[in-house]
Each structure stands twice: as C-alpha cells, then as structure tokens.
C-alpha cells in the first residue's frame, strides 16, 4: 500500500504565465492519492483529482469525508501513504519549497499569534517567504488587508478579532502576493450569511484575476454559485468529479403525480416500466422513503389523502404517462416532470451525512 510515488511531474517555469489561454495544465492533479492513518483508518482512498487550470473547483463532501486530509497532503503538510500529488505540475511533498509560494492557502481555519496585530501576523508570514520582496512587503500586506476589508483593523491584536475577521485575515494571508492557485478549506466556516456572501464575492474576484481556486465545503449551496467544477468526496473516496453541467446530467428526471389514489397510480407507473416508484405526502421533503413504507392504509382518511407518487422518467414520454393515468380512471391533481436539484444530487452522492468516518 505504500508504493513509492513517482513524484516530480512536468515542471512549469516559476511565475505567472502571461498566456493563460494556451496554458491548459491541471493546477492540481493526484493519482491514486491515499492516506492511511497509523491507526489503520483509511482517510483518503485512491483519489484522482484533476483540477483544470483557471477553474473554480468545489471540493465537496460531508465533514470527515477526507477533504482536509487531502488538502494537507496537497500542501505537503501530511505525507501520502500511497499515490502521488502535484501542484501546478510540481510533485508534492518534495516540491513544496519550489511551488508553494505560488499557492495561497487556508487550511482548517485561521491560525495566527493572538498577541500580534493582524498586520504583524501577515508581516511574519511574509518574512518567512524567501521569494517575497521585503521592500514591497508593506504595500502587499496593506493591499491584501484592503481586499478582505481589514485595513482599518490592521493594528488591532488578533485576539480581539471577531470570528469573521479571523477568517478574512487568513484569506488575506493567501493573497499576500499574486498566486496561480488558491486553496481554501471551508472558507465560510463560522461566518454569518453576510460574511459568506463577502467570501463568495472575494472568490469570484480572485478567479476573475485568472487564479485557479480550489475551495472545499460541506455545503454545496455555499459554492454552487461560483464553481465551474466539483469533486465530491464520500468516506475518503472521490465519488464524482466533473463540471457542474456534468453533475446535473447524472441526475435522473422524475415524473411526479399528485393523486388521491396513489396505489392505482403506482400500478400504472409500474406497468409502464418506470423504475423506483415512491409515494410521499406532497408536503414531504425529498428524498421520499420507499413506496411501501408510506402507503396509506386502504380506505382510511380518503378525504384529504392526496399523495405524491413519483418514478424515474427514463425514456418514457410524459404525455403518454398522463394519458395512461387518466385512462385508468385515476384523478390526477397535479403532474410534473422534475430534475433533481444539485443539492439532491449532492446528498445522493454523499449519503445523508452523520456517517462520519464510517
């Protein structure tokens, strides 16, 4: 399981590529990347990430699905027990000192010295960067603080910052210089809706500058508006990777019928060969439980017993289904063809959560 990973991928010249359009390298690529903790737990299980250059890549998955461990390996903080990873074409972790100055990162929440000001904290990280120009340090720090709206709090001690300010300071540390790639691990953790919106706007801005953004989240809703690509993790495995339209295409459209006679409706749908029939009360939240569980007892409460019957549409023509239902004498109160929301797809891929580390 600990096959020596072939490291050093093809190298790219240091510095920002002026002709980005021609540059279609993957910003992040991993091959069979695996991390087994010493306790034997498989935290990351052979994942093959391919983050296109210039994309905004949403790295999704419930808490405990291996996202942070993956990010730690990408940044050279943790060593893989199998497979390999490359940032901007440079193999990690061996290439850490060559490539990481082109990568801004926020890993598992902000971390700064509480007794230093925001400014001094950023100055400290900048002083550590051997490729940063000390002459421009102050200007760069001020610019970064300004971008996250912290310039007025620059001289405040970090311990007096609010949670949102701390999070923004951490993002600022990723913006101390132009980057080719920004890795943000749960950047909206602990932020109020206003703060979440601000971070989203900031990510859009960063991406507009041509920087590839890799942003992890356990909430699809937080990132679906800004992502061009997504990868979905579940229990250490990458269960989906692709563009958002590709993710949408994986969702099967369903036909939904509102009727007072669900049993008969199901018979019709089944006779038409539609798979995965389900019944739920119309107000019920998706995903609905399996049909048998919710079927109302025959003859009971038929007065208000409107139920929603649904099935996977497949190749069937909706018009024909409707006609068949009516022909069978079923009172159709409502009829719809729906595609699942991204959220449904996401939940479908990741499970309902709470099976952390299972």
């Amino acid at each position: 399981m600990t096959a020596a990973p072939p490291r050093h991928g093809p190298q790219r010249p240091v510095g920002r590529d002026p002709d980005r359009q021609a540059d279609r390298l993957t910003a992040i690529s991993t091959s069979g990347l695996t991390k087994r903790f010493r306790g034997g737990q498989l935290a990351v299980d052979h994942i093959d990430l391919a983050v296109p250059d210039g994309s905004v890549y949403g790295f999704l998955g419930p808490n405990g699905s291996g996202k942070t461990t993956t990010i730690r390996m990408l940044l050279g903080l943790a060593f893989p027990t199998g497979g390999s990873a490359a940032l901007l074409g440079v193999g990690m972790p061996d290439g850490a000192t060559q490539v990481l100055h082109r990568v801004g990162s926020l890993v598992e929440g902000p971390a700064f010295y509480p007794f230093l000001t925001g400014l001094d904290n950023l100055a400290r990280y900048d002083a550590v960067d051997r490729t940063a120009d000390p002459k421009t340090a102050r200007t760069r720090i001020d610019t970064a603080l300004d971008r996250v709206g912290l310039l007025s709090a620059a001289k405040k001690r970090y311990r007096h910052y609010s949670l949102g300010m701390k999070q923004r300071l951490a993002i600022a540390s990723g913006l101390l210089r132009p980057r080719d790639l920004i890795i943000l691990d749960e950047p909206t953790n602990g932020l109020d809706p206003q703060g979440t919106r601000e971070v989203r706007a900031l990510i859009r801005q960063i991406a507009a500058d041509g920087t590839t953004v890799f942003v992890s989240s356990h909430l699809l809703a937080e990132v679906e508006q800004i992502c061009t690509h997504v990868g979905v993790m579940r229990s250490g495995r990458l269960v989906f990777q692709g563009s958002l339209p590709e993710l949408r295409r994986t969702g099967a459209a369903r036909v939904t019928v509102q009727t007072a006679d669900p049993e008969a409706a199901i018979k019709v749908l089944t006779a038409l060969g539609l798979p995965d029939t389900r019944v739920s009360a119309p107000a019920d939240l998706p995903p609905a439980p399996a049909a048998a569980d919710l079927l109302p007892a025959p003859g009971s409460g038929s007065g208000q017993g409107i139920a929603e019957v649904s099935a996977v549409l497949g190749d069937a023509a909706p018009e024909r289904i409707c006609a068949e239902l009516v022909q069978a004498g079923i009172g159709v109160r409502g009829f719809a063809v729906t595609s699942p929301s991204l959220e449904d797809l996401f939940v479908g891929l990741t499970g309902e959560g709470f099976d952390v580390g299972a």
Binding site: R72, G76, H101, V103, S105, Y113, V128
Partner: protein, 278 residues
C-alpha cells in the same frame, strides 16, 4: 538572503514576547540579589585565599577580595536552575508552540521549508540563551564592581592576573556557559518537535535537566557522569586556573557538540518526516 529576514522576524518575535522579556528580567535580578546578600553577609572585605577546590563554592572565598568573582558565583548559581529554565521555555516552545497555535501549518505552507524552519528556530534559541548568559555576566559584573573592590584577579589556582586578563577569562567563561545552554537548546528543540503542547515540552526538558543533575550527584552512578548533559556545565572553572585546564574544557565542549548533533539530528529526522496535524 532569505534566512536573515526570517531569522530577524523570529528574533523580534521571541524578544518581543512579554513572557520572554520577563524571563530575561528575572535572570538579571538574580545576580543583583546574590551580590547584595553576599555584601551584607561579608561586611569586612579582605583578601581571599586561592581555594583550588573543584566546586563553584570556591568562588565565594574570592568574592570578598574581588567583585569580578560575583560573575562566576552568579553563573554557577543560575546554571543549576534559572538559566536552564530560560532556555527550556524558549526551546520547548519553539516548534510545539507553533503547532499549538496552528501557525506551524501556515509557516510550512508559505513555504518556510522544514529544515530551514528548524535551523532558524535553533539559531533563535541559541541567541536567546547567549543573551540570557551575557545578561547574567554583565549585571553581575556591574553589581560586583559597585558592591566589592575591583582589581587584579586572584584565580582559583592562586595566581593573580591583571584585571583585563580576568575580564577576558570572564568572556570565555560566559561563552562556555552559552555553549552549554546551546546544547540544552538542541535537546529542547528535539522535544519540541514531539508535541503540540509547549508546556509539556518545557516541563520535559526541565525534568531531563534535574534528572541529569541528580544522577550526576549519586556517587554510585559516577561512571555515567561524564555522559550526562549537565555534567560539564560547571567546568568553566577550568578557565580560572593557570595553566588553563584545557582538557576538561575541551571534553565539556565536546559533550555540548555531541548533544547538539544527536538531538539536532533527531529533531531534523522527526520534523522532516512527521505529518503536521495541528
């Protein structure tokens, strides 16, 4: 070109922390207190006799005759606990403290470079130990000059040397003690890479120091003595003899070098191969 900026930044950080400044202040107060106490206990200054005994206590006889000896008394007293504590705090905190705050992962993501980070941390520890040692010598020298007569220095071997010669020997003594503290710093650095609890690392280093001192004082364990990290700390009295006992001095310096090498290598091996999970 990059190490100096990183080093300067770390130095500012360590010397700017209130806790560390307090440690240095406490270190500076001790020689003063010792000087005043000895001045009060020995109200009649008179020429002392060359003792030639092995222990630091020999210095006490000399003090009444010459204030310069307050420096040696202060150094040998503070070497038992105070200076090791000062070094243990900064060394134990060096990596474990960063891990505890979570700043370690960001330093490495900058990227600091694991080896480079360790080298800078060690350089800062050594600088801090050197500063603490020189503060003891400087304060003790000034206090000694103010409280006792100062003149040609009568050494432990009974020989009297000129004051400049005596001060030069003091400089070497201080550097020797600083080297001892540097070796302790390497031990502290190694311990510090093992945990993310700075307090645990500091306590561990102090337990090692005290254990070493205790074992060094058990006659039945005398054979282990020369291999203990603290054994050679007080051997700086070799510099206060004519001729200078160079073989003892060199054995002491060798011991410091070996401890620095072993624990430095250990720290490096550990730090460059361990996952940063904090």
């Amino acid at each position: 070109m990059s190490v100096p900026r990183f080093f300067a930044s770390e130095l500012r950080l360590v010397f700017g922390r209130r806790r560390n400044l307090l440690l240095l202040a406490v270190t500076a107060v001790f020689p003063l207190v010792i000087g005043i106490a000895l001045r009060l206990a020995a109200p009649h200054p008179q020429g002392g006799q060359g003792g030639g005994s092995e222990s630091g206590a020999a210095f006490f006889n000399q003090l009444a005759g010459n204030g310069v000896f307050l420096t040696f008394i202060a150094l040998s007293s503070l070497l038992i606990l105070v200076l090791p504590v000062v070094v243990a705090v900064v060394a134990g905190d060096s990596v474990a403290g960063e891990a505890g705050y979570g700043t370690l992962r960001y330093l490495l993501a900058v990227p600091a470079g694991r080896t480079r980070l360790l080298v800078v941390k060690f350089a800062v520890i050594v600088t801090f130990g050197l500063s603490a040692t020189f503060i003891v010598s400087a304060v003790a020298l000034v206090a000694g000059a103010a409280l006792f007569p100062v003149g040609p220095v009568t050494l432990l071997s009974g020989t009297t040397v000129s004051l400049p010669d005596g001060l030069l020997r003091l400089l070497f003594v201080t550097l020797y003690v600083a080297a001892a503290m540097g070796a302790l710093g390497a031990i502290g650095l190694a311990v510090s890479t093992l945990t993310e609890h700075a307090i645990g690392a500091i306590a561990t280093v102090m337990i090692l120091v005290v254990a070493s001192e205790v074992i060094d004082n058990v006659p039945q364990l005398a054979a282990a003595g020369p291999y203990l990290p603290t054994h050679w700390w007080l051997s700086f009295d070799s510099l206060l003899r004519v001729p200078v006992d160079t073989s003892t001095l060199l054995r002491g310096l060798l011991s410091f070098a070996v401890y620095t090498l072993i624990f430095g290598s250990f720290a490096w091996a550990r730090f460059t191969s361990a996952d940063v999970t904090s």
